[in-house]
Each structure stands twice: as structure tokens, then as C-alpha cells.
């Protein structure tokens, strides 16, 4: 019996049967058949449904004449992300704002949910930041192909055609290393924050862990910002026009 959070227990109680059948269809046997849904997936689903509810709520309350508080908040977030993409990518970068804003909300909420007792950060297991990094990777490669067609592959050849046999493996490895570095940066920051708080909690149970929890909250915000900033920089590399 694995250690389960209360929310994971509810999900496993309700959905263990269908999830097991789904996994068997792919010939995967879960380690604990009565609890196939791990904590990280349960927390991710919670964040997903909360964000879906929040976005639908804001969408239903949008108005031009009398914007409410939530509309102001979302306009501020959209302004931040759009200003940053305009600064980094340049013109015509409004199309990238939805993906970047969703990524920012998802990663921020996944990071911060671990602070609440009874919940756990899904980004503290390596697979969740890998998912976010793969989404960002597929997105910017797709935008590169959409912008330049098949000519996007020229980006991998380097500055001169004579250098192409040397540059192509280097560029491929560096693009894959971007996925690795995005994943490990987010995972290691969240995991280290948890570990450090736990270690100091085992040393001095009163007062000192609050400082590290505060640091963890600050690091969560910073790492979300860095993830979105780096995705914007990779987008700029993919869709930049070289005149």
C-alpha cells in the first residue's frame, strides 16, 4: 500500500478499476493495483480542474464596460507575458501568449500547492517537469516549422553551409539538452526546497522551517518565471527572421 494523500485516496477509490483496465490495454501492470493513480497525477488533475474552472469563471465574467477584479488580474498577467514576448521575440508575438500564460499558471500552481498541508507539489517528481518541458519543446519546434516551413531545418546547420556536418549533431544535442535542463532546473529546485524544509524541520521544529518555506515560495515564483522566460527565448530562436 503506497502512501497516499487524501485526494489520491478518493480518486483511487473511485477510478482504480477503469484506470487499471486502461493500463492493461497498454500492457502496463501498475505496482499497486489498488492504487494505480500516483500522488503526482492526482495533484496535477486537481490543478488542471481548478484552472479550468478559474478560466471558465473569468471567461463568463468578462466585460468591456465594467471589468471586475478577476478580469483586472488576468489582464495584468497577460500584459506581463505579452510585454516580455514583445521585448524578446519582437513583433507579432501575440499568438504565443495563450500557451505561455497557461504554462505559467500551471507551473505556478503546481509549485505552490505543495505549501498547503495535505497536498504535495507534483513538480517535485521528475516526470511532471519533464512533461512541461516536452510541451514547451514540441510547441517551439512546431512554431518554428509553422513560421518557416521546411526551411526551419536550416537553423540546425549553423552560420555557414560548409560547417553543417559539424553543426548539425551539436545543434541537435543542444536542443535536447534544453529539454533536460528545463526539466532538471524545475525538478531540482522544487525537490531541494522540500528537502531543505524537511531537514530543518527535523532539526528545529519551531520557527526555522518557516524561513525555508518562505524561500521555497519565492523560488517557486522565480522558477515559473524562468521557465516561461526560457521558453520565450527558445521561441525567439525558432521564429526569428534573420535579415
Amino acid at each position: 500500500m503506497p502512501e497516499q494523500l487524501w485526494f489520491t485516496k478518493i480518486l483511487n477509490h473511485l477510478f482504480a478499476g477503469p484506470v487499471n483496465s486502461l493500463l492493461h490495454a497498454f500492457s502496463i501492470t501498475p505496482k499497486y493495483p489498488n492504487a494505480p493513480i500516483p500522488n503526482s497525477l492526482a495533484m496535477e488533475l486537481l490543478v488542471f480542474f481548478f484552472l479550468l474552472f478559474l478560466f471558465l469563471l473569468v471567461r463568463s465574467r468578462l466585460s468591456v464596460e465594467s471589468p471586475g477584479g478577476t478580469q483586472h488580474l488576468f489582464e495584468v498577467v497577460e500584459g506581463l507575458i505579452q510585454n516580455q514576448s514583445n521585448e524578446i521575440i519582437g513583433h507579432h508575438s501575440e499568438g504565443y501568449t495563450p500557451f505561455l500564460a497557461t504554462l505559467a499558471f500551471f507551473i505556478l500552481l503546481c509549485n505552490l500547492i505543495g505549501v498547503i498541508p495535505g497536498f504535495e507539489s507534483p513538480t517535485a517528481v521528475p516526470i511532471v517537469p519533464l512533461g512541461c518541458a516536452l510541451c514547451a519543446f514540441v510547441y517551439y519546434q512546431f512554431q518554428g516549422f509553422k513560421h518557416a516551413g521546411i526551411g526551419y531545418l536550416k537553423h540546425f546547420a549553423g552560420p555557414m553551409p560548409a560547417l553543417a556536418p559539424l553543426m548539425i549533431p551539436i545543434e541537435l544535442i543542444s536542443h535536447l539538452a534544453r529539454v533536460l535542463s528545463l526539466t532538471i532546473r524545475l525538478f531540482a529546485n522544487m525537490f531541494a526546497g522540500d528537502m531543505v524544509t524537511l531537514v530543518f524541520f527535523s532539526l528545529v521544529p519551531l520557527g526555522v522551517p518557516i524561513l525555508f518555506l518562505g524561500l521555497h515560495v519565492g523560488v517557486s515564483l522565480l522558477q515559473t518565471y524562468i521557465f516561461v522566460l526560457l521558453t520565450t527565448v527558445y521561441l525567439q530562436g525558432a521564429v526569428a527572421d534573420e535579415h
Binding site: R185, A188, L229
Partner: protein, 100 residues
């Protein structure tokens, strides 16, 4: 020259400890992975701190010379610090993956 002679003197004093290898008894399992993990993490954190200090000093000086360029300098500083930090964190991840 005097530094070199002091260095050699210190190294030769360390060789006085060699008879410790002559002690008998059952060989205990030394966890080399944990020892090298400690050293490597200290090394990584120290060099990361040096690099971040250099980046912060350059950003502070740039900001002092041209306060109007604050957005650009702030962006470069935050990006640079996060990238340097992530290099030290790669060492931590290896430690958590390999040390039992």
C-alpha cells in the same frame, strides 16, 4: 619560493600518518560514493556562488552607471542567476540519484 618550501614541509608532515595503514582488523566498508558526493556538492556550490557573485556585481555596476536601463539589466541578471544556479543543482540531482 618560501611558499613552495612551506607547502613541501606541510606535505611531508602529512606523510607521518602513513603507519595508520598498518592497523589490522576487519576492513570496514567505506562509502566512497557518499564521501565524493559531499566533496562534489561543496565544490559545485562554491563555484556557483563565485559565478553568481560576479554576475550580481556586474549587474549592480551596470545599474549604477545607467539606472534608466533597469528592465534590461534586471532581465539579464535574473536569467543569468537562474542558469548558473541550475548547474549547481545538476550535481544535487546526481547525488539524490546515486547516494543510498
Amino acid at each position: 619560493m618560501r611558499l613552495l618550501s612551506k607547502l613541501f614541509m606541510a606535505l611531508s608532515v602529512l606523510s607521518f600518518a602513513v603507519p595508520a595503514f598498518a592497523q589490522g582488523g576487519t576492513p570496514s566498508e567505506v562509502n566512497w560514493v557518499a564521501i565524493s558526493a559531499g566533496f562534489s556538492m561543496a565544490f559545485a556550490s562554491g563555484i556557483c556562488a563565485l559565478a553568481q557573485g560576479k554576475a550580481t556585481a556586474a549587474a549592480a555596476e551596470g545599474l549604477a552607471r545607467n539606472p534608466a536601463a533597469r528592465p534590461g539589466i534586471q532581465l539579464a541578471l535574473i536569467l543569468g542567476l537562474a542558469l548558473i544556479e541550475s548547474l549547481a543543482l545538476y550535481t544535487l540531482v546526481i547525488i539524490f540519484a546515486k547516494v543510498k
